[in-house]
């Protein structure tokens, strides 16, 4: 699949995610007002009102564009890391349990169901409350610890989602005759899983992983909005949380991070769909 063959929405999604990844990698070197400096002469500047602040400032005079760019890194990294680790663990568990069947499958599937029954936000709140708070409110919990706990809780949320997809796909593929054929040639189970099951299951996992990135960005934002995210207001979610009191006077200061977050989620979903339809159709494409 070449870029040219993509539809207009998919093209826009690729471009948008490219911009976001550029912000993640090179964001800090873009010559813009420092996101932590407030401009006392330009508080609450509207969208496109000033050349110095292209996306305006919030009611405290923080430049929105530079904040959005700085926010890309924690938002994207947290979701990429947790989907990556969670996806790896989840699909490994799902594939092995579905291939082996029996007791192992029963146990793994039950665990998946238990974790799935806990809402992501509740799990995140509970973990942050237990692992990333200090009984003495005067002692600040280091940000890195919070980030790790948030990644941990999001990883736990992702494991059963991707695990069940991998399990379902493996169940149907491992019943195919080519698995029996491979066994009849004397292949070991591990070789069959790596060479015959995984290549067939991957498309489904990729597609859902992309959707999951979108979900995780939203959950991370919601955690920040509830005040248990990253405290310094650096991610998109915590930007929204910080300005929610200004919705009346400076609505654009909330609209900017919300639109950026929404576009990223939509782009992830779009590409997940494209990826699945592309990778899935090889069997039928003549």
């Amino acid at each position: 699949m070449k870029f040219k063959q993509l539809g207009i929405f998919s093209k826009a999604s690729v471009i948008w995610l490219g911009i976001v990844m550029f912000m993640v990698v090179f964001g800090q070197w873009i010559p813009l007002p420092k996101p932590t400096n407030f401009d006392i002469d330009a508080m609450g500047v509207g969208l496109f009102d000033s050349l110095k602040h292209p996306l305006g400032t919030d009611s405290n005079g923080y430049d929105l564009l530079s904040n959005v760019i700085r926010g890309a890194r924690p938002s994207m990294l947290i979701s990429l890391i947790s989907v990556g680790i969670g996806g790896l663990i989840g699909s490994t568990l799902g594939i092995i349990s579905a291939y082996k069947r029996g007791k192992l499958d029963y146990i793994v599937n039950t665990l998946f169901n238990i974790v799935l029954s806990v809402p992501a936000l509740v799990l995140g709140l509970a973990l942050v409350a237990v692992l990333a708070t200090n009984p003495d409110p005067n002692i600040e919990v280091p940000t890195s610890r919070r980030v790790i706990v948030i990644i941990l809780s999001l990883t736990i949320v992702i494991i059963p989602i991707l695990g069940r997809i991998a399990r379902g796909a493996t169940l149907s593929w491992s019943n195919r005759e080519f698995v029996v054929a491979a066994r009849s040639m004397g292949m070991k189970d591990s070789q069959i899983i790596m060479k015959h099951i995984v290549p067939n299951v991957l498309p489904a996992i990729y597609a859902v992983a992309f959707l999951a990135i979108g979900v995780v960005i939203v959950v991370e934002g919601s955690l920040s909005l509830l005040g248990v995210g990253i405290v310094d207001g650096v991610s998109w979610g915590s930007m929204i949380a910080r300005v929610r009191g200004d919705l009346e006077y400076a609505p654009h200061s909330m609209i900017v991070p919300v639109v950026v977050l929404a576009l990223t989620v939509i782009a992830c979903n779009q590409l997940g769909d494209v990826l699945r339809s592309q990778l899935d159709s090889r069997e039928g494409r003549l």
Binding site: G102, A181, A182, M185, M187, K195, H196, N200
Partner: protein, 325 residues
């Protein structure tokens, strides 16, 4: 000739919600080195289960096997999983019914073909590629180098079945199970594939078990024929002897149900009325009794034993055909 595979009193049962399903009920068979055996029977008579069980491929927890399987002097029913696996590919190999589902759709022919060579024979990438090309030439695939880079969906049904045969032959098996190798193909391709299997068997000096529901398929391509019905061998003889002196009413019914050109095309096709007995409900008498045109009282109550004539012709019938009754 020495015995290559011998099954004795092989029974396969499956646990089902309706009780124990006896798919294979006490089969004794012997396959000599270099010999080809046709296993014939209608759907559900246990042909496929028999061939998979002889290889040991039935590993689901609901399948139970009793009896012994001796392959090349080694008792597979008591051997370890690893020892059984070592016989797969190099000792016994199988060609599957539907070449569409038996090939992995997302991997190229070349990598699927060289897989067995590299894993089982420890060949290098280069050697495996060379051998893959030879194998594809052996199964008469034109332009083998190009075919190696194709995906299964880019080949026709006949070509796919040839690839399956090449994969099965990759590690020079002594015994090849062909489980309805032509059922998914059209008639002209069927003839080609059968001829190919016959030729290859003689070229490579293999034994072959050809499983099919079509007596016409086995007629020209096997040395011996075993007819199966309801999980039992009901008639077993050399191919010529079987067609010349049918003893078992079921075999006769099978032969009669082959459509003929000299029949009136307007008439009803000859069929065997009724259906297979329920494999979860064993009956005391002959399994074919309810459908047999020659049925007598004894058939309903007493299970016939396998009788052996002097020329090796075996049949399971109280009142065999061609004998005064």
């Amino acid at each position: 000739m020495s015995s290559l595979l011998s099954l004795s009193n092989l029974r396969i049962t499956f646990d089902t919600p309706r009780g124990q399903l006896a798919a294979v009920r006490g089969v004794d068979l012997e396959i000599l080195a270099g010999e080809s055996l046709g296993v014939v029977g209608e759907s559900g008579s246990g042909k496929t289960v028999l061939s998979r069980a002889s290889m040991g491929l039935l590993t689901m927890s609901t399948a139970h096997r009793s009896g012994t399987v001796v392959f090349d002097g080694q008792d597979l029913s008591t051997a370890s999983r690893e020892a059984v696996r070592d016989t797969w590919g190099t000792g016994m190999a199988m060609i599957f019914q539907d070449p569409m589902t038996a090939l992995n759709p997302v991997r190229r022919i070349g990598s699927q073909l060289s897989e067995g060579l590299r894993v089982r024979l420890g060949m290098s990438r280069k050697e495996a590629k060379k051998r893959s090309i030879e194998l594809l030439q052996l199964v008469r695939i034109p332009d083998p180098e190009k075919a190696l880079r194709k995906f299964p969906n880019q080949l026709s049904g006949g070509m796919r079945q040839r690839v399956m045969i090449a994969i099965a032959l990759a590690c020079n098996p002594k015994l090849l199970f062909a489980d309805e190798p032509t059922t998914a193909l059209d008639v002209t391709v069927q003839a080609q594939i059968l001829q190919l299997l016959s030729d290859l068997r003689q070229e490579l000096d293999m034994s072959m078990v050809l499983v099919t529901h079509d007596l016409g398929v086995v007629a020209g391509h096997t040395d011996k024929i075993a007819v199966m019905y309801a999980g039992e061998v009901v008639e077993y003889a050399e191919t010529k002897e079987l067609f010349a002196n049918v003893r078992m009413p079921y075999t006769e019914a099978l032969l009669n149900s082959i459509p003929r050109l000299d029949q009136k095309s307007s008439g009803r096709m000859a069929v065997i009325e009724g259906r297979l007995p329920d494999p979860t409900q064993p009956e005391p008498g002959c399994a074919f009794a309810s459908r047999c045109p020659y049925v007598q009282e004894k058939c309903q109550v007493e299970h016939p034993e396998l009788q052996k004539a002097d020329n090796g012709h075996q049949f399971r019938c109280h009142f065999p055909l061609g004998v005064a009754r």
